[in-house]
């Protein structure tokens, strides 16, 4: 594995499956009396969050603490006045504090790349969401959830499965990361959105696209709904919220057209009534709450594989032969 996790595209199939199988083991920790492992003792993980996200930050914090790492939280609302000074100067401060890993969430696409490649810090950089670019750990926890439900938690278990990702693909870092990672794991991905919410050049992505949600739903094993912001109306991306939910919202009627085993996912936070209705979000098909639980295990796996040894884990052909 690479020293940094900046994009879901950084992970080979072996890397991705290693994260999943590691997460599977770590998920059991939640049921144990002592929810702690010593693997990252003495390591310092810094959560550098320039965007408000209590949920993701807490998830990473829990993950690091359960591995006995020291956690430092730094929340800086990216000041428009100081612009990039915030990122670089903050990075230099962290470096002085001796961070082993920096988990960064930032409103500008590519900010984690700059952090990783600028020479400001020596630590591993984990992208916790950058602008509209990527959110690799979200994709990993989504893949982990799919793997448990559809893949039998086995290697290669997701091969040939079909997943629809529905909503504002253009502005969604979750969509980008998922499209890359699911493809790596052998999943057939279909993106469903109005034409205005699909990026230029989408035909070069390893996915299918469709403007017709009703046609796609019966064919898939999982539906992932993306958050759609009402504010997008002002950019002319769709005329009204009503028209959007009518054409692309997942409601009870559409849910009934899904196959029996098909699950419904959402990265959160949901805009109930816009892309998803309450009855769907709260139904048995919905694994939305489980996604959150899986998030801690997956983030533990990522931190362990990056920081647990003297180098990130080597995912191909590892034998675990040990000295007794």
């Amino acid at each position: 594995m690479n020293r940094h996790l900046l994009s879901a595209g950084d992970l080979s199939r072996d890397d991705a499956e290693l994260v999943l199988s590691t997460a599977a083991e770590l998920r059991e920790l939640a049921d144990r009396p002592i929810k702690k492992l010593p693997a990252l003792r003495g390591r310092t993980v810094v959560n550098l969050f320039f965007e408000d996200s209590t949920r993701t930050r807490i998830s990473f914090e829990a993950a690091a603490k359960r591995l006995s790492a020291d956690v430092i939280n730094f929340s800086a609302k990216g000041s428009s006045l100081s612009k990039g000074e915030s990122l670089k100067d903050t990075a230099l401060t962290l470096e002085a504090m001796g961070a082993d890993a920096v988990v960064v969430r930032h409103g500008a696409s590519g900010a984690p790349h700059r952090l990783a490649h600028s020479g400001w810090v020596r630590s591993s950089v984990v992208n916790a969401g950058d602008g509209t670019h990527e959110h690799p750990t979200q994709a990993l926890l989504d893949a982990f959830t799919l793997w448990r439900h559809l893949g039998g938690s086995r290697a290669g278990g997701l091969e040939g499965r079909r997943v629809a990702i529905v909503g504002d693909v253009l502005h969604s870092r979750v969509a980008r990361s998922n499209a890359l990672l699911l493809r790596t794991l052998g999943v057939d991905v279909t993106l469903v959105a109005p034409p205005t919410l699909l990026p230029v050049g989408i035909e070069t992505w390893p996915v299918d696209t469709s403007y017709d949600l009703d046609a796609v739903l019966p064919k898939v094993d999982a539906v992932m709904m993306l958050r759609v912001q009402r504010e997008r109306m002002s950019g002319g991306f769709f005329p009204t919220a009503r028209e959007y939910s009518r054409r692309y919202g997942l409601d009870g009627r559409r849910m009934a057209t899904l196959q029996d085993h098909t699950i419904v996912m959402h990265p959160g936070p949901m805009v109930r009534g816009m892309e998803i209705t309450a009855d769907v979000a709260d139904s048995d098909r919905s694994v939305i709450v489980e996604q959150v639980t899986n998030g801690v295990a997956v983030r533990m796996a990522v931190l362990y594989l990056l920081l647990g040894g003297n180098q990130p884990a080597v995912s191909t052909g590892t034998t675990n032969e040990a000295d007794e």
Binding site: E28, P33, G309, V314, E324
Partner: protein
């Protein structure tokens, strides 16, 4: 320093079988009886194999106990990767399965099962791992092979075979199911890279 006579000018020689499948079977049977004897029966026993090969060994011991006592002793596995003291010396390692049987370890007699006992560090890690899972009444250790060269004050309670070895030799246990056949082999290798320094 004079070269070790065995490896002077030689490449790896062919592995020598020191226990074949029947030897292994007899050793496991004896171990199973010794466990029952020491424990005065099968009550409150939990067998935890250390992956990878400790696990099928634990299974086989459990089967033998079941055929003798008519009682299914709980069997599981205990991965020690995260507790290893050499974690930071190599790239992060993949985790192996930990399955604690229902009923847990509190108040039970846990018998750790592994294939080879060598430096003792794996068992120390297993004790730490066990400590985070609960508080057994007692912990015992059963190994198929004890090859000496302990680096920590750790000893096995039940041993299949004591096998004095030199540090340049390599002991391998293969078990049908994971490997092709049941066997314990010794191979005289050339000096390993880790030992070349100074």
């Amino acid at each position: 320093m004079p070269a070790h006579p065995r490896e002077a000018g030689s490449d790896q020689s062919a592995p020598r079988v020191v226990l074949d499948d029947r030897d292994i079977g007899r050793a496991l049977t004896r171990i199973s009886h010794e466990i029952l004897e020491r424990n005065k029966g099968a009550a409150d026993l939990v067998l935890l194999g250390i992956p990878s090969r400790g696990v099928p060994l634990a299974q086989r011991i459990a089967e033998r106990i079941a055929s003798v006592e008519g009682y299914a002793v709980p069997v599981g596995s205990l991965d020690v990767t995260m507790y290893r003291d050499d974690l930071r010396l190599k790239p992060a390692r993949a985790l192996l399965p930990t399955e604690i049987p229902p009923g847990g370890v509190d108040g039970r007699t846990v018998v750790l099962v592994d294939d080879v006992l060598f430096s003792g560090r794996t068992i120390r890690a297993a004790l730490d791992a066990l400590n985070d899972l609960g508080r057994p009444r007692a912990v015992r250790l059963a190994v198929l092979v004890d090859r000496g060269h302990r680096e920590l004050p750790i000893r096995a309670d039940f041993v299949g075979k004591n096998l004095p070895t030199s540090l340049v030799e390599r002991v391998r246990v293969t078990l049908a199911g994971i490997d092709e056949v049941d066997a314990v082999t010794i191979q005289a290798a050339t000096v390993r890279d880790e030992e070349v320094t100074a």
